[in-house]
């Protein structure tokens, strides 16, 4: 039903990422990924004959910048859609704006509030925190753990995770003995871990995306706590494993399959997507992929996919996106629907562990 677009028509995609600033570990790989993908797509002839152009704005993680830039993208650049922002706080600030302007927003932030309450034009690609929490609890049950301590960082990600853990624990017959929030710039956490230790927890769950994840691991080992450490899907960056060094061994966390792409069976639907993205990215930027870059991949690709099916009309694309099924991205296989603007299920996660300084699939008995 789509009209034939004029050749070399340009479709602008706005991108809001916190490339610098406190959340730069999210935004930087995301921006790089988008840049790389857009180049690739254009090399391959664009989308429906139209060239993609990414207008990337660095919000530095500040909501006020996100608002200002979002308005710019919508009014001035007249972008087709916006991907990003990297953090939930920013996304929530521009959710209404995009809704009002009827511009598609595919967020790379994790919080559930982004798609619940449901906004017509707002989607998100990272996995749901609740599913990560359930995955963790399931693993714990198998390991015979029932009393745990939770630490989380005071960011949107940390808070959302903490909330989900606390909400889902009773259903999974797990008791949270203690829950503490630390500052994302924390330099040493032995104090708070000592508090956990004194409560005799059987396992520790740390929920954050910051580098402090490695500090938790180190401090636990230094304190000789001797209980397993579970991390959130925010641990999906080989950097943190390197940082934690020997202390990283044995950490368990749920994660998309990007990091263990080579370990997947050849017939896994995500296998080819993952290995391609991984090798491309690593070749282009000389650095390890992280799951965060993967979010940007998913955000852009679900859009492109929908555009390919529905053409270059915003409303049509929105419909197509809502009906996108079985799309294999880096975060999992997406099945969007009119009342699920996230599209990922429990199976998006794999439980991983760290073995000899590398990610490995957790072997569950």
């Amino acid at each position: 039903c789509a009209k034939k677009p004029a050749p070399q028509q340009v479709v602008k995609i706005g991108a809001l990422f916190s490339v610098t600033g406190p959340a730069s570990f999210l935004g930087a790989p995301e921006a790089k990924t988008v840049q790389m993908l857009v180049d690739q797509i254009n090399m391959a002839g664009g989308v429906k004959g139209a060239k993609l152009e990414a207008v990337i704005k660095d919000t530095k993680g500040d909501p006020e910048n996100a608002i200002s830039f979002a308005k710019q993208l919508i009014e001035e650049e007249k972008v087709f859609a916006i991907i990003g922002p990297s953090t939930s706080g920013e996304t929530m600030k521009i959710k209404n704006l995009c809704e009002e302007a009827k511009v598609l927003l595919v967020s790379c932030a994790a919080a559930e509030v982004i798609v619940n309450p449901l906004a017509k034009y707002v989607f998100k690609v990272p996995q749901k925190d609740s599913q990560a929490a359930i995955k963790i609890f399931e693993t714990m049950k198998k390991m015979g753990i029932s009393k745990i301590g939770v630490v989380s960082s005071n960011t949107g990600f940390g808070n959302a995770g903490k909330e989900q853990l606390e909400k889902l624990a009773p259903e999974n017959s797990i008791t949270i003995l203690i829950s503490e929030v630390y500052d994302k710039t924390a330099t040493d956490l032995t104090g708070v871990l000592a508090k956990l230790k004194s409560k005799k927890v059987q396992a520790v769950v740390n929920w954050s995306i910051e580098p402090a994840q490695a500090i938790v691991a180190k401090n636990m080992k230094q304190l000789k706590m001797g209980v397993p450490l579970f991390q959130s899907h925010g641990f999906g960056n080989i950097r943190y494993v390197k940082e934690a060094g020997e202390a990283g061994e044995g950490i368990i966390f749920p994660c998309g399959r990007l990091l263990v792409a080579d370990l997947l069976p050849a017939d896994h639907p995500q296998k080819s997507v993952l290995t391609k993205y991984k090798t491309d990215y690593e070749a282009k930027y000389q650095e390890d992929v992280s799951t965060f870059g993967g979010h940007a991949y998913d955000a852009l690709m679900v859009l492109v996919k929908s555009m390919e099916t529905a053409g270059l009309d915003k409303e049509q694309v929105r419909m197509a996106l809502e009906n996108l099924k079985g799309f294999a991205g880096t975060g999992g296989v997406f099945n969007f629907s009119a009342d699920d603007h996230n599209g990922l299920g429990l199976d998006a996660f794999e439980m991983l562990t760290v073995k000899d300084g590398k990610f490995a699939l957790l072997e569950q008995k």
Binding site: T20, T187, D188, K195, A214, Q222, E243, E246, A247
Partner: protein, 295 residues
């Protein structure tokens, strides 16, 4: 219970020693120029980052040595480019310049080293080794931090009290014109103090990096805490800075036992403020001297 308390004390010492070593650097430039160098945190970051980069090719001690030298040179460069040729700048102007510098250095570091977190090797042992005291545990690196902290303080005290150069640096801060009328090359003294605080910042950065990890923007946090601690102790007095640092560290750790961790910072700073209201020249500051120094 004892083990628990000891553990808190040790944790407090760990955090405290980090703050203390960050605070010392402030005092040097303060003594020389009467200003607070807000780029001090960036010296710490640059020192650590340089050492990390160098440690890929060099043995650890050499890497640290070079990092210290490079950061000292950076300090000198900054002074020569941005401060030396100013004609009697006001303190506020200097503060703003150093704030500007800190922003610039941080951004430069972002583009040199990217946004990823790194850390230096542990000096002894590794991530998982710990020393146990009464059943509580502490990373050997903390002992390094404390030791180097103590060493720096002792050396600095001797330097400022008993050596001529040290005294001249203090004279410069008190009255620049009078100092040059005494035959002191005030410009060189300021350069020297920037080099010195650069070097100390770098050393601090290296020794805390295994514990805290290093990222391009980690300087800001350390700078704020270091500044708070330096003021809390009484500006210009390094011994007081260490004491204040340890006190703040212990305070923060013990506040965890009663309050949610999220408010630790707010609590420790609120207590600092309270102290300031009652002792406006800091915990160990000399009130008389404080009044005679102008902003």
């Amino acid at each position: 219970m004892l083990e628990q308390t000891v553990q808190y004390i040790l944790s407090g010492l760990t955090i405290g020693s980090i703050y203390a070593i960050a605070a010392i650097g402030y005092n040097i430039i303060y003594n020389a120029t009467g200003i607070i160098n807000f780029a001090q945190g960036e010296f710490i970051m640059v020192g650590a980052m340089t050492a990390i980069t160098l440690s890929a090719f060099l043995p650890l001690p050499l890497a640290i040595l070079f990092a210290v030298i490079i950061t000292a040179l950076l300090g000198a460069l900054i002074e020569i480019c941005c401060i030396r040729w100013l004609d009697r700048p006001s303190v506020l102007r200097m503060i703003i310049i150093t704030i500007g510098l800190s922003i610039l250095i941080r951004e430069a570091a972002l583009h040199i080293w990217d946004e990823k977190v790194r850390s230096l090797r542990f000096f002894t042992g590794n991530e998982v080794s710990s020393v146990s005291v009464f059943g509580a545990h502490i990373s050997p690196q903390v002992l390094w931090v404390l030791g180097i902290c103590a060493l720096i303080v002792v050396l600095l005290n001797v330097f400022f009290k008993y050596t001529l150069t040290g005294r001249s640096i203090r004279a410069c801060s008190s009255d620049k014109m009078a100092a040059s009328l005494c035959g002191i090359n005030t410009r060189n003294m300021v350069t020297l103090s920037f080099m010195l605080s650069g070097a100390i910042g770098a050393l601090a950065g290296c020794v805390i990096s295994p514990i805290t990890q290093t990222q391009y923007d980690c300087g800001t946090h350390l700078a704020i805490k270091g500044f708070a601690v330096a003021v809390f102790g009484g500006l210009g007095n390094s011994m007081a800075a260490v004491a204040a640092g340890l006190i703040v560290g212990l305070l923060e750790t013990f506040s965890i036992t009663v309050m949610p961790l999220a408010y630790t910072d707010a609590i420790s700073i609120a207590i600092l403020l309270l102290v300031l209201f009652f002792r406006p020249s800091g915990l160990f500051g000399n009130r008389e001297a404080g009044r005679l120094k102008e902003f």
